[in-house]
């Protein structure tokens, strides 16, 4: 088991290195360089050469990549062109805010998705399944910004329960952020629930038609026991990985949702930095998003390995 865990860890590190190369390579392949993009029409003469020497653009790409990744490993993401401050200082509070948003949405969304997904799967093609699956389809297909706008219209403008947009400084304390987080959190949780629910439902349906569930039914095992002791453990395990894979999709959703609510997280920051043409900052945030994605997938891998009885060596196998 330890070997599998190590293998996954090594693979995650390789993926991360590759992502770093891609992020660096894409920005490198774009026309012009960070300085011409940032300065725009002012990109000439002394200004341009100053900027270029500051960023070390006179060196070759490979030299700069090695330097950049070396610094990143030391936690130094460089300086923002526009804000003239270390990027790690700019990112840190926003990273916290995005994690708060994502984690609270996951806290609501994941349990809800599992319960609803199991109900829909067990009562397949009955009324409850049609209602749940129908709403899930709507949540997955209607763009996040439309859902967010509708929620703002109902809860912020008509009912005036929550603020429509966040007007707090980035460094505001968690207690101050909380009332602002509710609408974006529900939007994100809604979309997240729909994705995970569909996966859970499919897996439950798959397991319900398997031999061992039929066998248990024929043996006369009570329905509730079949669901909770036989079916669920083996149905939920494989969903963990697929859920983690949908993270890339949800991270894009976070960017849009943060923008709609003006939430001070990484999403609003990357859009702002793209508008500012602040390449070093854009690179750093893109890398952060990839790190979040890879970390979540790594955790999912570990969970599956730890929970899978077949990969346990000493403990006797239980459940399904």
């Amino acid at each position: 088991m330890l070997r599998i865990l190590l293998r996954r860890l090594v693979m995650a590190v390789f993926t991360l290195i590759f992502v770093a190369i891609v992020v660096f390579g894409v920005t490198e392949a774009l026309p012009g360089d960070a300085c011409t993009a940032y300065l725009g029409k002012l990109a000439q003469g002394e200004r341009l050469s100053n900027c270029q020497s500051e960023l070390g653009l006179d060196k070759s790409s490979i030299e700069r990549f090695v330097g950049w990744s070396g610094n990143v490993l030391h936690g130094d993401l460089g300086d923002s062109l526009k804000r003239k401050r270390p990027i790690s200082d700019i990112i840190a509070p926003r990273f916290r805010n995005t994690i708060i948003l994502g984690a609270s949405a996951a806290l609501i969304g994941i349990p809800l998705a599992i319960v609803l997904g199991v109900i829909a799967g067990v009562y397949r093609d009955r009324l409850s399944d049609h209602v749940v699956s129908g709403i899930a389809l709507l949540a997955m297909t209607i763009p996040e910004f439309v859902i967010a706008t509708v929620l703002i219209f109902i809860f912020a403008i008509s009912l005036k329960w929550f603020p429509a947009v966040t007007i707090l400084p980035t460094e505001a304390s968690v207690a101050e952020i909380l009332p602002n987080i509710i609408l974006p959190m529900f939007t994100l949780a809604f979309v997240m629930t729909a994705h995970i629910l569909r996966i859970t439902r499919a897996s439950v349906i798959d397991t319900m038609s398997s031999e061992f569930v039929k066998m248990a039914t024929l043996k006369g095992v009570p329905f509730r026991r079949i669901i909770f002791r036989h079916m669920l453990p083996s149905a939920l395990l494989p969903t963990i990985n697929i859920v983690a894979l949908t993270m890339a999709w949800l991270l894009s959703g976070v960017v849009v949702i943060e923008k709609v609510f003006n939430y001070p997280g990484l999403g609003t920051l990357i859009i702002q930095s793209i508008f500012d043409r602040d390449l070093p900052l854009v690179q750093a945030i893109a890398l952060m998003f990839a790190v979040i994605y890879i970390a979540v997938n790594l955790i999912a891998d570990f969970l599956v390995i730890l929970l899978n009885p077949r990969l346990r060596t000493k403990v006797s196998a239980g459940g399904g």
Binding site: F18, V26, I142, F145, R201, L251, S252
Partner: protein, 304 residues
């Protein structure tokens, strides 16, 4: 011969050089889609939006860019069935034309993505070995970067306008298709007709293009529909964020974004484009779902 009642067998209507049976096959699939309530609704919505995108300029009562300072944020009336927006433009004319640019771009991109992703994926599935292993690592790494971020980055820094989105959208969505195509090809690679082709002395290129792709076209077709829906979502998000269609162009994402400031006084300027955009994406999804069932394509659930 194709028997009327039986399922659409992909092999039967995929036979090359028999135009008539191909048409009959398409009709069977269409009938199967329409016979499902979900499929009928999906197909109706897709056809409705496609038709509208084509004829919108002929039926729009006003010029989509025509501003009228006297008629700002007017409620729906006979003259303006969906009201007017903050610049006095007719919301009805803009809404019916608003899908055109996104439909053109996403349809083209989805076809390119399904083709290149399918060809590469199928080849990897057939070839296998080290090359396959290496390429799949690359695919995994690309999937680790949220797609929308890449689109944002490339669109804003290349400055090529909306049409620069076509290669970018096709490239990144093709990467997801590679996985599907590869999985499907691995399932087919052990079949007898592939072995037969090998024994006949055909090379890999013949097997990929003449044997495997025709047999996997159903899977790629369903994948194309799913990619199309994803791209519509991505494109409208980009427009909403200010990186897609540029202002004078009527575009749903852009219209919703513009209407947000005036949501309290003139909700109609945002509601109508939101309804049109949502019904199209829902339509594509329902259609894709029914298409998958009609073609007996067992698609993995959940991952868009």
């Amino acid at each position: 011969m194709i028997a009327g009642g039986t399922s659409a067998n992909p092999v039967e209507y995929a036979l090359p050089g028999s135009g008539r049976s191909r048409f009959a096959g398409i009709m069977i699939v269409l009938r199967d889609i329409i016979s499902r309530p979900v499929g009928a609704i999906g197909l109706f919505l897709v056809v409705f939006h496609l038709l509208l995108a084509v004829i919108a300029s002929f039926i729009a009562p006003y010029d989509v860019a025509l501003q009228n300072a006297d008629r700002i944020l007017q409620a729906p009336s006979w003259a303006h069935p969906m009201g007017t927006d903050s610049l006095g433009r007719d919301v009805f004319s803009r809404t019916i034309t608003g899908g055109r640019i996104s439909i053109i771009i996403t349809l083209i991109s989805a076809v390119i993505a399904a083709l290149w992703g399918g060809i590469v994926g199928v080849s990897l599935g057939l070839v296998g070995g080290r090359i396959d292993e290496f390429c799949m690592r690359l695919v995994d790494a690309f999937l680790a970067i949220p797609g929308l971020l890449f689109l944002l980055l490339i669109v804003s820094f290349t400055g090529g306008g909306v049409y620069a989105l076509i290669p970018t959208l096709s490239f990144f969505n093709g990467i997801s298709v590679i996985r599907i195509g590869r999985g499907a090809a691995q399932g087919v690679a052990v079949k007898d007709y592939i072995t037969a082709a090998r024994v006949r002395g055909h090379g890999s290129r013949f097997i990929i293009f003449q044997e495997m792709l025709p047999n996997l076209q159903d899977i790629l077709l369903v994948e194309w529909a799913m990619r199309w829906s994803w791209m519509m979502l991505a494109f409208s998000s980009l427009s909403f964020l200010g990186f897609g269609a540029t202002p004078p162009t009527p575009d749903w994402g852009l219209m919703i974004s513009d209407s947000r400031e005036f949501l309290t006084v003139a909700p109609w300027a945002g509601i109508w484009p939101a309804i049109f955009l949502s019904t199209l994406i829902i339509g594509i999804n329902l259609f894709a779902d029914a298409l998958g069932k009609a073609l007996r394509v067992d698609r993995q659930q959940g991952v868009f």
